[in-house]
């Protein structure tokens, strides 16, 4: 932004909310937005680039009635389909160090990651899963007291009071964070986004509705991810001469939980593809029906890979920007 701001032909509107993409005869003419004073404006445009993150990209296209909304009953329509998230699991074993770890010194660069089970690599058929995932431990913020105080494995009956306080002071900065698991999430017919029939935003526009739940395949991925991550924790404990505490109870089946943080990697809805009847965008992130409308972000990914998507998002965005400048501006029209 500081680089762009030096340009005379660049301006930025902070605290503005785009409500609609205005279009006529397969051409985007601009956007309407509400500024910070609550006034609505029309911003004309030759090219519109939508870069508002997966849910809002999808919602703005639905609100602007650009493209055919996906219908999970018939499988027809492309806008909103292939909604995916990441399949996250973690080690179930807790390893408590015998001395303080100075965990607050941790930074991103101290993390690790291994891809031995990524995609379909090294997948034992006994797991009965199609895709595995990445195992990693980043923990960039380190041992932040509010987030990490109060874990007292087997040391106190309640999670408050004197006994809990004593145990928590002992264990804080001694719990060795277990490995995490990020699994591929495949797209399913029944997982999609549409406009909510009931709830609206402050302007009266429908909110986006996400319909998403874990299938038997993801339940097995949770089992797989937890098991391997737990083995890593136990190996760490063995090497360090410590004890790994592992719960006896089986892993609970999970439903998709919108109330807990599960990475920000919500993807799909405005997917790229090789034909206009199965995808919203062509391989250049150009809208199949509206060639001067470009949409960036992981909403374009038809499937959700275990790796975090930022680098891939940047790559396809640079590719799209390059296509706009080098090809589209020279000859306006569909690039595929």
């Amino acid at each position: 932004m500081p680089v762009l701001q030096k340009r005379k032909n660049f301006s930025i509107r902070n605290n503005a909310n785009v409500r609609r993409i205005i279009h006529r005869d397969a051409r985007a003419e601009g956007v309407t937005y509400i500024d910070e004073k609550g006034e609505e404006h029309l911003q004309p445009a030759n090219i519109v680039v939508l870069a508002a993150w997966t849910p809002q990209n999808t919602r703005l296209l639905l609100l602007s009635k650009i493209g055919a909304p996906y219908d999970p009953q018939t499988g027809k329509g492309t806008l909103g389909r292939n909604l995916t998230h990441q399949v996250a699991a973690a080690s179930r074993a807790l390893v408590v160090s015998d001395k303080p770890l100075n965990g607050f010194m941790v930074s991103g660069a101290v993390g690790y990651s291994f891809a031995d089970f990524d995609g379909d690599r090294n997948l034992d058929p006994a797991w009965r899963i199609l895709r595995g995932g990445t195992f990693n431990r980043g923990a960039p913020p380190g041992s932040l007291p509010i987030a990490t105080f109060g874990r007292t494995p087997g040391l106190s009956k309640r999670d408050w009071g004197s006994e809990w306080k004593k145990a928590s002071i002992q264990t804080w900065d001694r719990i060795i964070s277990g490995s995490g698991f990020r699994g591929d999430h495949l797209a399913y017919r029944q997982n999609y986004m549409d406009l909510d029939p009931t709830y609206t935003d402050k302007y009266g526009d429908p909110l986006l509705r996400m319909t998403l739940d874990w299938t038997e395949h993801e339940q097995r991925q949770f089992e797989f991810g937890s098991r391997i991550a737990t083995e890593v924790s136990k190996a760490v404990a063995r090497v360090a001469g410590l004890k790994a505490i592992e719960p006896n109870r089986p892993l609970e089946r999970r439903r998709y939980n919108a109330s807990q943080y599960n990475t920000t990697h919500i993807q799909g809805g405005v997917i790229m593809g090789s034909s206009s009847d199965r995808s919203v965008l062509n391989p250049w992130l150009q809208h199949w029906q509206v060639p001067n409308l470009w949409i960036t972000g992981s909403c374009a990914f038809p499937q959700n890979s275990s790796a975090n998507p930022t680098l891939s998002i940047v790559a396809i965005t640079i590719r799209a920007a390059d296509a706009i400048v080098e090809r589209y501006l020279k000859h306006e029209g569909p690039l595929a």
């Binding site: 607050f104 010194m105 105080f149 408050w160 009071g161 306080k165 009931t198 609206t200 998709y256 109330s259």
Partner: protein, 208 residues
């Protein structure tokens, strides 16, 4: 907010070496004095002051909670609160109509004559409400008030950070990382204001 005379909560003040030197009268923004005393007493049972060090009373947890409830968090500025209100599955998270202020007021009412009870009786009363939204919030906020940056009203004199050995929001540990490998790094903590060298605006002071 209704207009009322200014009310205060009394917080113990300690000098170096945990010598009680007096009490500070801190003006309240949301609670009445009577409500603040109930919250002070209840948070002190969650995080007691005992032989293992100071607790919620010394940290001023009640002041932290009072400021949060008076600010945008207390009135649910950041939660979607347009109806219709429907019962939902736990996976959708808290769907109740009550904002944190209302949850606290209702919870305080249920605690009744809490401040007149013995510690044992107080614990028993809290065990009876352990699974309520009010208690879960109070427990979370007590931990926050113990370990927040002091600019938010809790963690007074950084008692919470000193208790566990957290050095504060230090920007980098490049020079300490290796020398302290396997050794506890325990220094006098620094608050964000001490580190950046100027006052910092806090979210809970925002008017709207």
């Amino acid at each position: 907010m209704r207009i009322r005379r200014r009310e205060f909560i009394s917080i113990p003040v300690y000098a170096l070496g945990s010598q009680l030197v007096g009490r500070a009268e801190v003006p309240l923004r949301f609670f009445t004095a009577a409500e603040a005393e109930v919250i002070q007493a209840a948070s002190a049972r969650i995080f007691p002051s005992d032989e293992n060090g100071p607790g919620a009373t010394e940290a001023g947890v009640v002041i932290y909670i009072d400021r949060q409830l008076a600010g945008p968090y207390g009135r649910d500025k950041y939660r979607y609160t347009k109806g219709p209100w429907v019962e939902s599955v736990p996976e959708h998270g808290y769907q109740g109509k009550e904002n944190p202020r209302q949850i606290y007021r209702q919870g305080i009412e249920k605690l009744g004559n809490f401040v007149t009870l013995t510690h044992e009786q107080q614990d028993e009363r809290l065990m009876g409400i352990e699974n309520t939204m009010f208690f879960r919030l109070l427990r979370t906020h007590t931990i926050e008030g113990m370990f927040c940056d002091p600019m938010h009203g809790g963690n007074r004199d950084m008692v919470g950070w000193k208790l566990i050995g957290f050095p504060g929001p230090v920007m980098s540990y490049r020079d300490e990382l290796e020398p302290f490998l396997g050794k506890p790094y325990r220094v006098k903590p620094k608050s964000l204001e001490q580190i950046v060298g100027h006052p910092v605006k806090v979210m809970e002071d925002e008017k709207d």
